[in-house]
């Protein structure tokens, strides 16, 4: 999976086009993983207040 999108200009030089939006699923999964880890921690491990 690419992180940055690049193209080439008329002179053949690399031009930065932006970040790869295919990373959407990585950031989405990171959010879901955070929620799961926090919920499990609060449910199973966190000291009761």
């Amino acid at each position: 999976m690419e992180i940055l999108r690049v193209s080439r200009d008329v002179y053949g030089r690399e031009v930065l086009e932006g970040i790869s939006l295919d990373l959407f699923w990585v950031f989405f999964a990171a959010g879901i993983a955070f929620v799961c880890v926090h919920a499990l921690y609060r449910w199973l491990l966190a000291p009761k207040r």
């Binding site: 930065l16 932006g18 990585v26 950031f27 990171a30 959010g31 879901i32 955070f34 919920a39």
Partner: protein, 221 residues
């Protein structure tokens, strides 16, 4: 304790304390809707849902920029910056929270003022990411035709435009993760009072006394 005293105590506990003024709640929900529109118009085409996304995207972007400008002007004038500032007390809270969660201390961490350290941190993170998205988005509008100007793709060097696009995309991707976490915390049972206060504006006095240090968040009687 007689019934009159009991009724008075119950009435006092259920009396309402304003946490968010109507104008601040409107700001929050306008920002929320515009960010969701911006993310939907940005990512749905990437996920295969094709539609004319550019126009709703930049219109929502303009509304978001207007909302941010409003908040940047209003917050220092009408709200307490200290309520959201991360100071030495918050760092002491962080140490106490860490000790409590690592079971190095049995005493629960001290109660916060109006906002907890976690709320201040998420506000700071949203501020940085939304400002990045808004500034880069405003720059990118130079490259498109609008009712007010014609596109000028040569306003910045190609390499600079590349950095602008990377920052805009990174901010959008970070918002996906941050919104998932934000909604999760808003829906957690022990946080529902804060969600209600962002909808209806108030918490009860009993909630105020249970969740906040009156010395760190003084409210009018």
């Amino acid at each position: 304790m007689n019934s009159t005293t009991t009724a008075g105590a119950a009435e006092r506990a259920s009396s309402r304390i304003e946490r968010h003024a109507l104008i601040d709640r409107l700001f929050h929900w306008v920002t929320a809707v515009t960010v969701l529109v911006l993310l939907a118009t940005a990512f749905l085409p990437v996920l295969g849902v094709q539609f004319a996304w550019v126009t709703p995207h930049w219109i929502a972007g303009l509304v978001l920029i207007a909302a941010i400008l409003f908040h940047v002007v209003r917050a220092p004038l009408a709200q307490s910056l200290r309520a959201m500032w991360i100071g030495a007390d918050d760092l002491r809270d962080l140490a106490a929270i860490a000790r409590f969660n690592l079971r190095l201390a049995s005493a629960p961490p001290p109660k916060p003022g109006k906002y907890s350290l976690a709320q201040k941190l998420i506000h700071l993170l949203f501020a940085v990411v939304l400002l990045t998205a808004a500034v880069t988005g405003a720059l990118m509008m130079v490259r498109m035709d609008t009712p007010w100007w014609q596109r000028n793709p040569y306003w910045l060097a190609d390499s600079t435009w590349g950095i602008v696009y990377v920052l805009h995309g990174l901010a959008a991707l970070l918002l996906v993760t941050m919104i998932i976490a934000h909604v999760y915390f808003a829906l957690r049972p022990e946080k529902l009072l804060f969600t209600r206060s962002m909808i209806r504006g108030w918490i009860t006095r009993e909630e105020y006394e249970r969740h906040h240090d009156p010395e760190r968040w003084r409210v009018r009687e």
